[in-house]
Structures are given as structure tokens and as C-alpha cells.
Subunit: 430 residues, 2 copies
């Protein structure tokens, strides 16, 4: 190995880390890219894996494939166990062994995790939707629910099994709730014949009095209307008090019997940020300079969801993919500038707007945060954008073929229960 | 539910059970189809899932989808725990509850399992390739092997990790060995750069002095030649004495350091056959009449791999898909004949021949057990036949797209390690 080239260690192969690595790859540096998965995940489509519309491999791409032709990018599968900013070293646990990697520059881009706000009952009894493991676990759970409900004679148990609750009125919550009800309504209902008498219900809980907080009011109302037209029950001002395997209790005392609580009501920085021993910002995020450097460090950068930076109005940049991608690229560019002795550039966020899909032919979009768009047009825009953004030519074909197939046939064939030994959260009565 | 219609219980949704259910579905009977998976598996392509060429969902199809428009076929996900032929009842454990199902006729079609011939060290330390769980487990293992080997400095450990051993000179053994070496040679080798210095080796062990026992000698030799041209080392007359996590020991004392032993050296009937309290035949198979009825029973049928029937030459019918399918169909037809008071038909096996693929553009086939075929032509015949046989239109498209993609790009994008907590067999040194 060439020890003379500067070494950049990147923690995380999400959007920030991946685009940082891509940007650095064409320069004369050695890059060590570390992730606990051997693939990059296209997270906006996780809910489609969870609801049987897509295979995991359609939205995830092996990191080594992405850098197949870059011999200065070295992927390491493992978990970072310590960061030593004095010695410029990162310790990685991989396959039972610990490696120490030295860096000249470090980019911390480990993303975010589900935020349960310290509520143990939620953490234990809910499903997240932050990574592919989450999505696959939720999918197996949903499919197993229906098999259980099919053969039970206990009507209360059956109705609890058939009630799915999604918490959080953000895009993930809306998309998941809509897709869950469509999975039941278009697909599963046809296959559980009259013998079984199954009626499913999907409830979306939102603690505040509106969905999609950053959108203009007209789109918020449109989203609610669309969601209800799909068949989802929307409850605003509904705050979760606690969760058990077979019910959720709201702050107002109401109890909803359910075996499925999908928690998409918040995210926080990956707890790995604690390794830096910094004063953290809201949601545990690392305060960074407009140069993407971690405050107080010269050669440590933090990019993406786990980094905290405010715009000119004092608002933090959102924990969204475009911000992560743009920060990752800027971190990489600034590292190269540093090496050349040039002055560093500061972050300018290019915001093309926000969008959420709600189900078949339904979506809301707020283009450039100026132009509202709804219905079929917004849905087509959503489809097109997500296809374009998807990494890898084969994945794009595969997702496209699946979408067309699902649309025309109202079918979902990705419906295999592959874990015969289910984990927690199954809530068997027997 | 209509209690007046005769009830047929079918155990197993493999080829025998599935085709029995399909045949019965158009008659005036109520069918309960039981399987421990919620899908039917196209088992000939399991090795392609194991070697990252196909997604699990491409070769498996939800049973409920298959019978979506048949309201007299009821699927039950669960494991049969007892068969009571006196009371005509089957007990099924499903999701922690036990159901009792009564039958007028029973078809036992639970297939076969890997045969370790009672050798505990093989059972503990080898990978099978009999169901989708096996295939996914082997895939994760292989991908993790390469990640381990990439970052270790211990050359002996590295070389053991990079040695994969397949046992069994039948079609599964050949196909798996060929596909494993191609996965390394065409795909993984490109992505583990010179830093890692990885050289993989695939060894095929066969206990007798020839591959593909039922084929004519010329094809046996051709198969060996093709396999070696792919890059696989073939060892004939090599009998396994014992297996550990990090090596396999042969009967002649030779030790091969390896962390991967794929055992495809034999199958036996599903142990569920013991529930019938019968004198079993070779490989634990249930002796049946030419009518597919279990010997001594009027309303109990056994079809497929777990059933034992001899042809006019005293040779048992092979444990292959065509035999299973034909027996399943005949069992269903004879049940209908019985109900109508007609006399039963006896089994006539239609044998279209055997084939095995060895890698890119390589295969051997023995059409109608008369016409030998090799090379590209045999390979195209194999591809075509397997596409046609694959269940479900979407799966066929998806497999076809994947195959074309893999062929032209020498890529495999189904390479996600999805179980972060690996099971046994991982053989970590640390």
C-alpha cells in the first residue's frame, strides 16, 4: 500500500459519506470508507421494502461495487468503537477483530437513528424504519400478523392483530401508513378468503395538530385528505404515553389494541458522536462550522444528519438527503483544498423542495419551497425523482419493473417470511 | 365454511403438494394446504440465491398468491406436529397455537432434507442447500468471508477463508461449485483490490470415482472437464471423515483448511414421516403403492421425495421434481376417483431426462435419457427450461433480467449482508 498519499477515513456510507468518498476518489488520496453494512441504502424507499413492494437488493447497493474501479477507495465492514482525535486514529471492530486506522483527515458521517425520546416502552415495542434491517423486520412481522389473524377464533385478538398504528406525521409516517393500507386493501385482502373474515385498519397518530410541519397549510390539508381517501385513519393531537406488545396508550387515556406500532416520530444523531467528547446540539448533533469542520478541529469533519449547522436565519439545516449529500461533497472538497493550502469554502444549501407520496397516484410536493403540487402530477414527479436518484442502473430497472408490475396487477410478490424464528415484538398470546 | 364438501389436507407446498392442490382446486373439495414457509420454492435455483445471482423473491412465490382465485384452497402457515390416521386428523403448530384439522383424504408431501448420514461434525459445521434459509445463510457467510479475509494479516487464516469446499458430485454440487468460483472470479476479485491480495479456491469433493452418477460416461467426463475449465478443483474418491469450523478432514488423512463446507452429498425423507409409524424404505422414505396411496391406507397418500416406489426394473423413482409433480397430480386425481367410486390409476413416470449447468455457457444434458448434449447448447436448453418452469410471470421476468444483466456485466448486485448477528459456522479466530 502507498503510505505516502494522505489518508482520509470516512465513517458511514450513507449519502454524506458516499458522496464524500466519490468526490475524494478522483484525487491523490487513500480513502478508508467504514460502514457496519456492506451496502449503501437508498433510505427514502425503505417503507416500500417494509410493505412488500420492493426487494432489499433493489434499494441497496454494495459499497464495493460502487468503487469497483477506484483503487484508492478501501471499504471496511465494521463498527467504529473509538475515535482518537489526538493520535488521529479510529478503532474499528470488524468480524471479531479490532483494526486501528490512522487518518490525516476524518469525516464523521454516521447518520441518524430513531429517537424514542428516552421512552423505554416505545423502544422495546415499536418498529423503526431507519435501515434495511428495520424494513425487513417490519415486513416479516406484517406478513406473520395476517397468518396469525387468519386462523384465530378470538375476535378481539384478531382485531388487535389487524390494527396497525404508525406514529409521526412526517413524510415517512405518511408514506408508511398509506403503503400499509394499500398492501392490505389491494393485495392481502384478496388472498385471505371469506373463511378468515379479515378487516385491517391503519391509524396514523400525530402529536401536533398538523401533518407535514414544514409544508404550507394547503398542502398539509391536502395530504390529510389524500391519506383518508386511501383508507388511513388520521388522528391529530394524539400523543403516545406508552406502548406494550398488544396495545398503545395515548396521553388522553385512550387505548388502541394493536400488535404493530411503527415509530417514525423522530430521529437523533448516531450515538457514535459521543466518541468525540463534544458539547452536542439539539437531537445530539455535532456542531460544525460552515466549512463542515467540527468546531475546534482542523482535520475532523462531520456531515449529514449528525452534523448541526444553522442557516442565515438561525434555523438548523434539515436532516434530509440533499443536505447530507451537499455537506459530504463540501467536506471532501475542503479536505483537498486544505492539502493544497487553499482557503476553505463555506456551505450554501441548495434546496429543491420537499415531497411525500401517500399512495397510488397520490402525493404532495413543494417545489423549491415555493410551488405547491398535489395529486397525480406530484406523484409522477415523486416517482421520476426517486428513480433518477436511485443508485445503480440495474436497481433502477428493477425498481421500475416492480413499480409498473405492482401498479398494473395490484400485486406484490416480495412477500416471503424468511425469519422462521421471529424476534421480539411478536406478541403471541399462546 | 362449507362442511359438506370433502376435506383434503396436504402437508407441504413443494412440487408434489402444490401440483396436488392445483389439481384438486377445480373439484368440489375443500383443501387445507400446510407448509412451514408462506412460499413455494423453486429449488433448482437455490444455488443462484446462495451465490448472489438472484434475490430470494425471484425463486419463491407466496402460496396464497398462487391460489388467490381459488376459494376452496386454504393455506396454513405452520408445522405439522402429529398425524392421527385413526381419527383422520392432523395437528398443526402455527404461531404458538395448535390447530387440529380433520381430513377425508391426506396427502403427505413434505419433501426431503439434507442427509448427514448421522455424522454430527458434518451436521454442525456444514452448509446445506435444501431451502431458501440455507441459501441466504450461505450467501451471507460467503460475503462475510471475503470481508474477513480482506483485512486480516494472518496468511494461513486468509487462505483458509478463501478456500470453499463443496461435497457431492451431483447436479447441486456441480452447480454450486461452478457458481461459487464464478462469483469470485468474475465479481468479487474485481472489488477486492491489490491491497487485499485475495486468491480464492473452490474444491469439489466426490466420494466415488465419478461425477453425475446417472449420466453416461462421456457426459461425466465432459462435466469434469467443464468444471475444471471454470476453475474448480475436482477431487474424486475423496471421502469426508469429519468437519470442524476451520477445516475438513478426509478419510485418507488429508486436511483441507476451510471455513466453508457445502454439503450436497445426500438427501433423505423429511423426518415428519416418522409420525406415520411405518416401516420405512431406504433414505427414510414411505413405501407407497403405484396408486400413490401409502401402503396399508386407503385415504392417505404420499408423493414426492419422501415417497418410495419402484419402477418395473425394481429401481426406485428418483427424488426429482418431475417425479414429485407427477405423483402429486396422480394423488389428487386418485382422490377424486375414489370419491366418485372409480378405480384408481397407477403411476407411469414420464422422464424427459436430466441436466446440470456448470457455469457460464457450460452444461451437460441427457435428453430423454438417450440424447447427450454439452456446452453452449445444453446451457441454453437449461436456461430456457428453468425459465419456463419458474412459477409466476413476474418471477420469470425478474430472473431473466437478472440473468441477462449478470451475463453482460459480469456483475451480481444481490450482495447484501442482512444478518448482522451471524449464526454458527462463522469460525472467527478472534
Amino acid at each position: 500500500m502507498n503510505q505516502k498519499r494522505p489518508r482520509v477515513v470516512i465513517i458511514g456510507a450513507g449519502f454524506a459519506g458516499l458522496y464524500a468518498a466519490k468526490t475524494l476518489a478522483s484525487h491523490n488520496v487513500e480513502i478508508i470508507l467504514i460502514d457496519r453494512n456492506n451496502f449503501h441504502t437508498f433510505s427514502p424507499l425503505l417503507y416500500q421494502v417494509a410493505t412488500c413492494a420492493l426487494d432489499p437488493s433493489a434499494i441497496a447497493y454494495p459499497v464495493r461495487s460502487i468503487f469497483r474501479h477506484r483503487d484508492n477507495v478501501h471499504f471496511m465492514l465494521g463498527e467504529v468503537v473509538s475515535i482518537n482525535t489526538d493520535n488521529h486514529q479510529v478503532e474499528v471492530r470488524t468480524n471479531g477483530q479490532t483494526h486501528t486506522e490512522s487518518y490525516d483527515s476524518l469525516i464523521v458521517a454516521a447518520g441518524s437513528v430513531t429517537n424514542h425520546y428516552g421512552q423505554q416502552s416505545i423502544e422495546t415495542n415499536s418498529f423503526g424504519l431507519k435501515d434495511l434491517d428495520d424494513a425487513v423486520r417490519l415486513r416479516h412481522h406484517i406478513l406473520r400478523l395476517f397468518e396469525k389473524a387468519a386462523w384465530t377464533d378470538d375476535q378481539d385478538y384478531k382485531s388487535a392483530l389487524m390494527t396497525m398504528v404508525v406514529v409521526g406525521g412526517g413524510p415517512t409516517g405518511l408514506e408508511t401508513a398509506g403503503a400499509l393500507f394499500e398492501l392490505y386493501n389491494h393485495v392481502l385482502k384478496q388472498e385471505y378468503d371469506d373463511w378468515h373474515d379479515l378487516k385491517a385498519k391503519v391509524i396514523l397518530l400525530e402529536a401536533t395538530d398538523k401533518l407535514l410541519a414544514p409544508y404550507p397549510e394547503s398542502l398539509q390539508e391536502e395530504a390529510k385528505k389524500q391519506l383518508e381517501s386511501v383508507g388511513v385513519e388520521v388522528m391529530l393531537g394524539a400523543m403516545v404515553e406508552s406502548v406494550a406488545v398488544d396495545h398503545v396508550k395515548l396521553k388522553d387515556g385512550q387505548i388502541i389494541p394493536t400488535h404493530t406500532l411503527v415509530w417514525s416520530a423522530g430521529v437523533k444523531a448516531n450515538p457514535l458522536v459521543d466518541m468525540l467528547n463534544l458539547e452536542l446540539q439539539r437531537a445530539g448533533r455535532i456542531p460544525i462550522e460552515p466549512t463542515i469542520q467540527v468546531e475546534g478541529y482542523d482535520n475532523v469533519y462531520a456531515a449529514g444528519d449528525l452534523a448541526y449547522l444553522e442557516d442565515e436565519n438561525g434555523q438548523p439545516y434539515p436532516m434530509l438527503i440533499p443536505a447530507a449529500k451537499q455537506q459530504g461533497i463540501l467536506a471532501a472538497k475542503n479536505i483537498i483544498r486544505q492539502m493544497k493550502g487553499e482557503s476553505l469554502e463555506t456551505f450554501k444549501y441548495i434546496d429543491r423542495g420537499i415531497m411525500a407520496t401517500i399512495g397510488r397516484s397520490r402525493a404532495v410536493a413543494y417545489i423549491y419551497n415555493r410551488i405547491p403540487m398535489t395529486g397525480w402530477l406530484a406523484w409522477m414527479a415523486w416517482l421520476w425523482l426517486h428513480l433518477v436518484m436511485l443508485m445503480g442502473f440495474r436497481n433502477r430497472i428493477s425498481v421500475f419493473v416492480n413499480w409498473v408490475w405492482n401498479y398494473w396487477t395490484y400485486d406484490r410478490s416480495v412477500r416471503l417470511i424468511l425469519d422462521r424464528n421471529p424476534a421480539r415484538n411478536e406478541g403471541d398470546v399462546a
